[in-house]
Structure formats: C-alpha cells, structure tokens
Amino acid sequence: MATSRTKRTRWATALGATMALALGACGGDDGGPSGGGTDEPIVVGISLPLTGDFSEPGKGVQRGYEAWAKITNDKGGLLGRKVELKILDDQSNADRVVSDYEQLIGQDQVDIVVGPFSTRLVVPAARVAEEYGMLFVEPAGAAEEVFQQGFKNLFYAAPAVANDHYNHLAEYLLALPADQRPKTAAYAAMDDPFAQGTAYGLKEKLEAGGVRTVVDEVYPPNTTDFSSIAAKIAASKADIVVGGSQYQDGVNLIVALQQLNYQPKLAAFSTAPTNPEFAAAIGNKTEGILAPTGYTQDAKYPSNVEFVEKYTAQFGSPPEEDEANAYTTGQVVAAAITAVGCAEQGECQKKLIDWVRSNTVETVVGPLSWDETGKPKGAHMIQQWVKGEIQIVLPEDAKEADFVYPKPAW
C-alpha cells in the first residue's frame, strides 16, 4: 500500500514536471499564433487587493484601470482591438500576488500585465513578470527598494519615487538666506517603505544642507496613540516637523501636536493633507500644512482634463491619486503598444520595454520618462493649506498661491 502510494506520487510529480516543461516551451516560442487574430481583445492582467488591508486604495486603483479601459475603448481601442481587463483579488497578500500573476501570464495567456497596489506587493509581482519577460508598468511601487532589485522590465508610472517627493521643498528651504533657514528638524515616519522614504528623502537633503535632526522617530503602522511621539517633538522645539505618514497616522500626529500646542515654522506631511476629509478630521486647523502631491485634478495637461471629466461622468466623483496613477499606467502601456504596433506575449514584450525605456510619455501627471532602473525622472509638486484651501505653492512655474513660511499658528 505504502509503496504503491509513493510510486503514484512520484509518477504524478514526473507528469507535472513534464507538463510544466512543455508549457514553458510553448510560452517561449509562442508569440505568433495567439497574437494573430486581430479582432481579439487585448487582455490586460492585473492582481489587486480588493479585500484585506489595502482594499480601499486597491479599489481606487481598480476604478482608475476601469476608467482607462472605458475611455480607450470608447475611442476605438488600441490597434483596432478592444481592451479587456482581467482583475484577480490578491487579498492584500504577497503570496497570492505571485500565484495570481503566474496564473494570468501562464494559464490565462494575457497579452499585457500591469502592476498591483502597494510597494510590498509590487516587488514579488514584478519578479514574476520579469521571469516571463513581460513589460511591467506599475502604479504604486514608489519606495527606493523597488528600484534596487535590478528589474529590467519595471517602470513606475508617477512623477517621482518616495525619496524625491520633497525635492522642490528641500531646494526652496536651502536657498533661503542663512538667518531665515530652519536650523533644527523633527522627523516621525511610519515603519513603511513608502512613508519612510518620503520623510528620509527630505531628511537626507536637509542634513546635507546643515539642518540638524533633533528628533527621528519611527512608529509601527498600527500605532493609534501619538501623544508620546508628539511630546518628544514638542519638547525638542524643532523649527520644522516632517511626517512620513499615510492618512490616519498623519491626522493623529497633527492632532497630538496641536494638543501640546507645538507651533513649528513648517509642517510637512506626506499623503494625509491631500485627502478630501483631512480638514474636517483635524477640526479645520490646517493653516500652513504642506504636502507633496503627485496628482491634482486641476493640472492642465490635455489628457488630464479629459480624464477628470470622463471619470467623473463614469463614477460620480472626481479621481484621486490612486485612480490617477492607475490611469497613468494605462496611458504608458497604451503609448508603447500604439508606437510598437503589437500587444502579445513573447518577442513583442521586449520591443515594448525598449520603447518605454527610451521615450517620454504624455500623461495625466505630465510628461514621464524613466532611468535605467525604471525610476521616473521628476519631483512632486508641493501643496500648502492657505486660507482653508490646499493649493500648489512649489515649484514656481506651477504655483497657484505663494508659499507661506514661516507658517501661521495652527
């Protein structure tokens, strides 16, 4: 009995291995047959966190992709073919992401894959895409580590990576005359590659420029009580405070700082201040708070005007950054497909990758181009709460209002 079961298992393993080899071989020299029928839709495979920890932003990214597919199809599709999305739910789980992309590429034979949401999930997904030689444009992997993996196929479809978000602000502060320049800075960042990247990018530049770091705190993502961190920052009397935050932690930290009556000359927080609910969440005491932003609905790029209008018609409310990043991803892929003239697995993918690497694409977040590692060559705009409204203050050529420094009391 025992021997026969062992035998059977071995037999099955051998069969499985043979099939895998056969399938692999098919994938390798394919290209021709599956891309032949020009009436077939271009299937775009995506795995997104539609449930679990990242379900909220995950659904935002999904809406962005859906808007892109609809707007593209309404104009007749790409290369005369309709675009069809195939979205799997990874449940915010890095293990699921790998099997999802393997299924999409290997079994479902999708023509194109694009990225999932959250830095944590981008790296394993990109690795699968690279094994199959697929182009991998992604809307969410903004952390430095994504670009240190040596990916040859990955492109981040946003203006800048996390560490470069505050570049305009760093330049501005360091260009101030010595007596106005801030002397000390306090940093608090969530233990998360994206959130930390934003704060540490600015920290590195300011430290190099002679601004002393007096507080440097890292807190776990689940922290709900910020009073102790706030107490340290308030006690340090730092000239400026920088928060590497997502949303709720940023709100909590600001409220805790206000409870301690800490009045810095500058307060910069990533992500949180651009959220539509931010002002109400901190009781409208927003005066002077800064945030880097990769996307605003007001940007005048032609495709953005179209995107905001059609997105609003489709979903009933204007798009946010997650939606815009997904849409941008679609735009980059569409530009490559149109220019190269193909969309299928195999040889075509190499051409698509080469095209994206050496060209600039006009998107809803402006023109994008990438370096060798797939990192976009840009910086984020800086927005500030001025008179109860969040407005672009940096860089100079895009500003809607003047930068207020030092900021008024909150």
Binding site: D225, I229, A231, A235
Partner: protein, 295 residues
C-alpha cells in the same frame, strides 16, 4: 538626556493612559474572578463600543458620550446573555481552557462583523474640541484625554462602590471568593455570575467610548489591546479589581516614560516583560491576592 519638561509631560500622558487601561483591565479581571474565564473577546467588545460611539457621532450627530446611554445597558445585557447561553455551558473542569477558545471565536466574529459593516478603513471621531488643551505647570493636558480619564475614574469608582456597598456587590465578591460557600449561604451564584459578566462587558462599553474620543479605530485593533490588558491583570493579581487598576496605572506610566529612550515600538514590550517577571517570580500578582482572595 530628556528635559524635565518632557519627563513631566510624559508622566501626565502616562497617567491619562493608565486610567484607561485601569478601566479596561477591571472588566477583564472581573470575568476571571467570577468564573475563571479568560475573556479574549473583551477588547473586541471595546472596539465595538468605540465603533458605536463613532457611528452615532458621524451618522446621527450625537456626542459620543451620549451613546453611553445606549451602549452600557446594551453591553450589560449582552454580557448576561453571553454568560448564561454560552459560557455557563462549558464544563467547569475545562472552563479556563475552553473559554479561551470560545471567546477567541467570539472576538473573531465581532471583528469580522465590524469589518463587514464598517469596512477596514481607519476611523476617528471628528470632535470640535479634539485638539483643545490647557496648561498645567508647563505640561499640556488635552481635553479629550482628560474626559476619557474622567470616564474611567468615575466608572471605576462606581464599580468599587457597587462591590463594597451593595448587597449585589457582596454576593458578587462572595461568588468570586468561594463559589460553593456562597451557594451554601443562599446566594444564587449562577444569577450573580451572569450579572457580574454583564458588569464586565459594561466596562468595555465605557472604555470603548473613552477610547474612541482620541484614537483611530479599525476592526482588528482589539488584538493590539488584549495583550497588554492580559499582562496587566496577571501583574495585578488575577481577579483583583484594585490590583488590576494599580498595575494598569504603573504599566501605563512606565510605557509612556520608556517611549522617550526606546521609541514607540520597543516601549510596548514593557507589558510582556512585566508579565514574564510576574509569572517567574510572583505568579499570584503584585497587587492582589492569589485569585483575588482579598478584594
């Protein structure tokens, strides 16, 4: 070296935090005292109460404190039903062990329901006085934290008076101290245990409302609370309400002070170190008697 002002500020914050811990731990230790039940779901109900406070404020526009009028009786009834319908059915011999499993299941159910109804998004009550504060000897005291502390203090005092001054309290303490003897003198221990359980869950209602005033809530937040609370009741002496309160104040204060040199992540370990130390050197707890013989 931290400045005196920062130390003083941290002491204030630690005391305010400790008050909340004290209230929450009081309920938890009560269950154990009454029936030797380890109530893993206590903090899940805490979060449920916080959600109800948040919901009544954001949807109905009611001040979160007013939601107590509904949640406290509701949770009391829930607690009585929970004890009578579920926990009382467990075999006394395996009560402690099986109650962990049962209440774990209840915790997961509550978490799942919260996630289903309110989604996993983090929520925070947006109060007009959310960032208001006043100065005490150079330190700032936030109004919402003081309200939370006040709620905890009043409820603990009420609980104390109830247990010391009323016939029900005597019956409850008798049940905690010696169930069989209590039955011999004519106390209906099953009924008393049910009400005692309800009382424990009512503290979760007050605690949750206090919690919701000044922190973010999300469905899985209760896992974050149950560990420290369990540690507190062991350090305080299982079943002893004053012991739990004292341990909560000390550990809350320590956590707040340790955040200065260690940071948020490592300061949390104070609870577990205290737990290990207690189990190793003084298993009966530092403040109460063994299984609350003394109250």
């Amino acid at each position: 070296m931290p400045s005196g002002a920062l130390l003083f500020q941290s002491v204030i914050l630690g005391l305010l935090l400790g008050g909340l811990y004290a209230l929450l731990a009081a309920g938890l230790t009560l269950y154990f005292g009454i029936m030797r039940v380890v109530m893993i779901a206590h903090s899940a109900f805490l979060i449920l109460a916080a959600y109800l406070a948040w919901w009544s404020h954001s949807r109905l526009g009611i001040d979160p404190l007013l939601s107590l009028l509904v949640t406290v009786p509701l949770f009391f009834a829930c607690g009585v039903l929970l004890q009578r319908l579920l926990l009382a059915r467990l075999r006394p011999a395996t009560m402690t062990m099986m109650s962990v499993l049962l209440t774990f299941a209840i915790a997961v159910c509550v978490e799942g329901l919260l996630g289903y109804v309110f989604t996993g998004t983090q929520r925070r009550i947006q109060l007009g006085y959310g960032s208001a504060s006043f100065e005490v000897l150079g330190a700032r005291v936030a109004v919402v934290k003081l309200i939370a502390f006040g709620l905890a203090a009043v409820s603990l005092l009420a609980l104390y008076l109830l247990m010391k001054r009323t016939t029900f309290g005597w019956a409850l303490r008798a049940t905690i101290q010696h169930r069989d003897a209590a039955r011999l003198v004519g106390i209906d221990t099953d009924r008393v245990a049910g009400f005692g359980f309800g009382l424990g869950l009512a503290t979760a209602a007050v605690g949750g409302t206090a919690l919701s005033l000044d922190t973010t809530i999300y469905p899985s937040l209760h896992w974050h609370w149950i560990g420290p609370l369990m540690a507190i009741i062991v350090v305080g002496g299982l079943g002893s309400v004053p012991g739990a309160a004292a341990a909560a104040m000390v550990l809350g204060l320590l956590q707040s002070l340790l955040q200065i040199p260690l940071g948020t992540t490592w300061a949390q370990t104070v609870f577990y170190i205290a737990l290990f130390a207690t189990l190793a050197f003084r298993p009966q707890g530092f403040f109460g008697g063994r299984l609350a013989q003394r109250f």
